[in-house]
């Protein structure tokens, strides 16, 4: 009877250990690894759009210097379109992070900071475009002090956006390494528990065998 109870207890513990391992690994996968992967795709896309916007910004400056009115207009349109797409991607990023409702998590804080920086950049860009469009009305387009100053300010804000994106990606990279470490720890602990249970099982078997032998001798 005692042997049956012991064996049942050990088998239950082994099943619990195995289920707990599976549950923990599943949690790491669904709550950390997969969302981080999704975030990385969107941040990389936003980053690519930022680079395209930067190129467009420099093209506008070049067309202004070269007095290329024909190309300037289409470039301004392209810049505006890219900015709209960037905002859409940012909204997508927010939508995959916000449902968790954990306001103090790193992805949430990163997205909030990124949104603040992009809003400031877009406002500066709108100001810059207004100034460029104003000069378009003149017979000959040329760089004004105002456009140069606005472009410099835009550059600084753009640098901050790029830096925030880089740190977001760097943080996610560190998170991936940390989640791998967590997975290793979970596996190692589960293995230790398994060994411990098997040793316990072996001890019970040895004790029971000895008791049985003694009883037979008597």
């Amino acid at each position: 009877m005692v042997v049956v109870i012991f064996f049942s207890l050990i088998i239950s513990a082994l099943i619990y250990n195995s289920l707990s391992l599976h549950q923990k690994l599943q949690k790491v996968r669904t709550e950390i690894s997969n969302p981080t992967f999704e975030q990385n795709i969107l941040i990389t896309r936003i980053r690519f759009l930022c680079t395209s916007i930067e190129n467009s910004h420099y093209k506008i400056l070049a067309y202004m210097t070269q007095d290329r009115k024909d190309l300037l207009e289409s470039e301004i349109e392209s810049l505006k379109e890219l900015t709209v797409v960037r905002l859409q991607e940012l909204e997508k990023l927010k939508s995959i992070i916000e449902p968790k409702k954990e306001k103090e998590t790193a992805p949430y804080l990163f997205t909030t900071i990124l949104e603040t920086k992009i809003t400031a950049l877009d406002l500066k860009q709108a100001e810059f475009i207004r100034e460029v469009e104003r000069t378009q009305n003149d017979k000959k387009i040329k760089m004004t002090d105002a456009t140069t100053k606005l472009s410099e300010e835009w550059n600084e804000l753009h640098r901050e956006v790029i830096a925030t994106e880089s740190f977001f990606l760097l943080h996610n990279q560190k998170e991936t390494l940390e989640s791998r470490e967590l997975t290793d720890i979970i596996n190692q602990h589960s293995l230790e528990n398994l060994y411990f249970l098997l040793i316990g099982w072996l001890l019970v078997v040895v004790v029971m065998f000895k008791v049985n032998q003694n009883n037979e001798k008597k």
Binding site: A106, A163, E175
Partner: protein, 281 residues
């Protein structure tokens, strides 16, 4: 009879010597967490803070030497701006008793008070002294209540204190010829009470420039905060749960088992002797 007595004598050896040896900080101890840092520098010209940005932080503790039970532990905390410029960087050497986790004077790079994290076996409401890497000053942690993080019971602690960081920041804040930097700190800790392991922490700090001669504060330098990332918290919870189970098994189960077996053996032998003497009569 002899086995019963042996076990009874073995009980204090197990409890006072062997069990603490098995639960002490190991020689390969390492504590690494992902810290999420935010800085907000003060713009003197605009007389306002220039806006929050995220910094790249590295933080770990690692055993470097063992002097007969006193561990020399390197504790590093570095914060970098997005352009790679260092905002803050310190590396300290702690001397910690591997069994009690208390700082030991005379071994590290300076004498310290308190514990590496917290003393094991914390009681509800018990306060303790903690040494936080950034500020290199004792922090008297006050008990704030009990919480659960990912199924693990933890005690929350908090303190508000001040520190002078002129020495730590002289490489990154210039010019510091007549100015120093001091900080107002709000520090919160979440500790697993059985093991004394730090599960997570948060600090909200404002650093000020001050006149080294008069001590008068001139203007803020930086308002920053550090939080442990969610994934690192889960990692610490997993480690603490395992350590707690190990402690429970070694300190309670094994100790109780030795005591019970010793008492049963002695009682059985005494009962047998009594029966035999009664039979002789």
């Amino acid at each position: 009879m002899l086995l019963g007595f042996t076990l009874l004598l073995f009980l204090p050896i197990w409890f006072w010597y062997i069990s603490p040896e098995l639960t002490k900080i190991p020689d390969d101890f390492e504590y690494k967490v992902l810290v999420f840092s935010r800085d907000n520098f003060y713009d003197v010209d605009k007389t306002e803070f220039s806006g929050e940005f995220v910094s790249n932080t590295e933080h770990f503790y690692r055993v470097v030497e063992n002097h007969a039970g006193i561990l020399l532990i390197t504790s590093r905390f570095t914060v970098q701006q997005y352009d790679g410029k260092e905002i803050f960087s310190v590396e300290r050497t702690y001397a910690v008793d591997s069994k009690t986790r208390k700082h030991v004077p005379g071994y590290g790079d300076r004498d310290r008070e308190g514990y590496l994290f917290a003393p094991p076996g914390l009681k509800k409401g018990q306060n303790f002294t903690y040494w936080h890497v950034n500020y290199d000053n004792p922090a008297n942690m006050e008990y704030r209540g009990e919480e659960a993080i990912a199924g693990l019971t933890v005690y929350k602690y908090e303190t508000n204190y001040h520190a002078d960081q002129t020495f730590d920041l002289e490489q990154v804040v210039s010019p510091l010829s007549d100015r120093g930097v001091n900080v107002d700190i709000n520090l919160q800790l979440w500790v697993e009470p059985v093991t004394g392991r730090k599960i997570k922490y948060e600090d909200h700090t404002t650093a000020y420039f001050y006149n080294l001669t008069t001590g008068e504060r001139l203007h803020p330098w930086n308002r920053f905060q550090n939080n442990v990332d969610e994934i690192s918290v889960l990692k610490q919870v997993e480690i603490a749960k395992h350590e707690k189970l190990k402690r429970f098994f070694l300190e309670r189960i094994i100790t109780d088992l030795i005591a019970i077996v010793a008492i049963l053996l002695l009682s059985y032998q005494l009962f047998n002797r009594k029966q035999k003497s009664e039979q002789r009569r």
